[in-house]
Amino acid sequence: MLRDFYQAFIEFVRTFGAMTLFLLEVLRYTPAVLFTRFGLVVKQVHNAGALSLVIIMVCGFFVGGVLGLQGYANLTRFNAEDAVGTFAGFALLKELGPVITALLFAGRAGTALASEIGLMKATDQLAAMEMMAVNPVQRVVVTRFIGAVIAMPLLAAIFSAIGLLGAHLVGVGLLGIDVGAFWQQMQQSIQAKDVMEGVFKSVVFGLIASLLAVWEGYNAVPTAEGVGRATTRTVVITAIAVLITDFMITAVFI
């Protein structure tokens, strides 16, 4: 029993160390890749970012709408329905925007990255690059990593913006909150610092989600089953890592 825990702990530390080395390798190649393979990076920003837009916008809109409903229902009890804008703004910019975007991002873009890289490995494409004297980490992994890291904060910003729009439509449009009060109060109470907290989180979550996706793909067991498992692990581990990190960052900011 105790030995099992010990083994699991050692295994965790080993994986964590290997992943750190992998991240350092990726970061070491990043400047060169940005310089020499800019076109590929742009393509990956498109793959990870633009192709995730629909899911991000739809979810953002409805999360904002729910915030409008819940905010109204609960704040009316204190005659504070004018504060719905403030409430939705804080919730979206500081928490829900970065966190939900990261979770959706792992589900949409992370799985695509992990399975794509895993399949390239399973079909010997990575080995073929090695044999053609092309470093597959540079060509395949780093381009996708940078693309995803760039895309994630942008998606989080769009999520929050659409969310506010949703809250506005529900709060002002459906429930009749005064439009001036809705936006005025939000503007007065939310500081640049609060926005920066959200931006900071989305950058960190972007790093986590992108690293985990390319790591799982690159280290997938090169079989159909292995690639499937890598895809699942990408979502599960990203979700856990993002939520734990969110708690820690929030604790530091407060």
Binding site: L119, A128, E130, M132, A133
Partner: protein, 276 residues
């Protein structure tokens, strides 16, 4: 060219001495010795699971042996750093079992890939080279197709065009005949021979298709149990006397390579104490 010839006067492009390699507890090679002659087609044969593909990966240093020396054109590959290794690999062309084409690029871009990565040729020149190579494998008309649209035989021919595009000194074929229809098989056999003779390269072919090997190889090695069991021209092997060679070359089910995988005693397992 002259310098290369002077620095390695040997007739052999690849020499393997006393190679040992194990994967987990299973020892795959035990003191393997192979010499591959310059300018010839050399076949490496053996029953499935003898580590033929592993051998190719060792020669190209995708895997690192436990001990032993591998010389490629006189260079000890274990002493190379990454840059040196990549330089050496540019002299290799490798045809993978399933082609290993990059699925997100068209046929044309797949063949152009090494050129774009390693040279600064103009687009016009690249187009010229790529179309020439595609023409050589008979697939100039498929330049705009995607790998997913190709048949198995076509994919392998595209991969062959890609393997040749940098004009390598050594072409490696990993099971080039597996899963092909007889016509495609004939096409590949002809291409292997023609590329080797027309371009003056050395070819290494890993396979267990005895008839195709006989048609194309100058020299062949039969590997079994981690060692070279026999070597010589395909004709010599066919008329060899050793039990193992006869079993392999004539496709007999039982012999030195046992029909049964290692197992506990049959009667014991069925009737013994573990039976329930």
């Amino acid at each position: 060219m002259l310098r290369r010839a002077m620095s390695s006067p040997s007739d052999y492009i690849i020499e393997i001495h006393d190679l040992n390699f194990s994967r987990g507890s299973r020892q795959i090679f035990k003191g393997l010795d192979i010499q591959i002659k310059r300018g010839e087609v050399t076949a490496i044969m053996g029953p499935s699971g003898t580590g033929k593909t592993t051998l190719l990966r060792l020669v190209t240093r995708q895997l690192i042996p436990d001990s032993g020396v591998i010389l490629v054109d006189g260079i000890d590959i274990s002493k190379l750093n990454v840059a040196g290794l990549y330089r050496l690999r540019q002299r290799f062309g490798m045809l993978f079992q399933n082609g290993a084409l990059l699925t997100d690029l068209s046929v044309f871009e797949n063949v152009a890939f090494p050129l774009r990565e390693h040279t600064r040729l103009t687009n016009r020149l690249i187009r010229h080279v790529v179309l020439t190579k595609l023409h050589a494998v008979g697939l100039r008309g498929a330049a705009d197709m995607l790998p997913a649209e190709l048949s198995g035989g076509m994919a392998r021919r595209v991969a062959l065009a890609r393997a040749m595009v940098m004009d390598p000194d050594i072409l490696i074929y990993d099971e080039p005949f597996v899963g092909l229809d007889p016509i495609s098989m004939g096409v590949i056999v002809r291409l292997v021979r023609r590329m080797n003779d027309a371009l003056g390269i050395s070819s290494i072919l890993v396979s267990h298709d005895v008839d195709e090997i006989s048609a194309v190889a100058d020299c062949s090695y039969l590997i079994s149990h981690g060692k070279v069991a026999a070597s010589g021209s395909p004709h010599d092997l066919k008329h060899g006397t050793s039990e193992l060679v006869r079993q392999f070359m004539h496709g007999m089910a039982d012999g030195p390579v046992a029909f049964h995988y290692d197992a506990p005693d049959y009667a014991e397992q069925l009737l013994g104490r573990d039976a329930e």
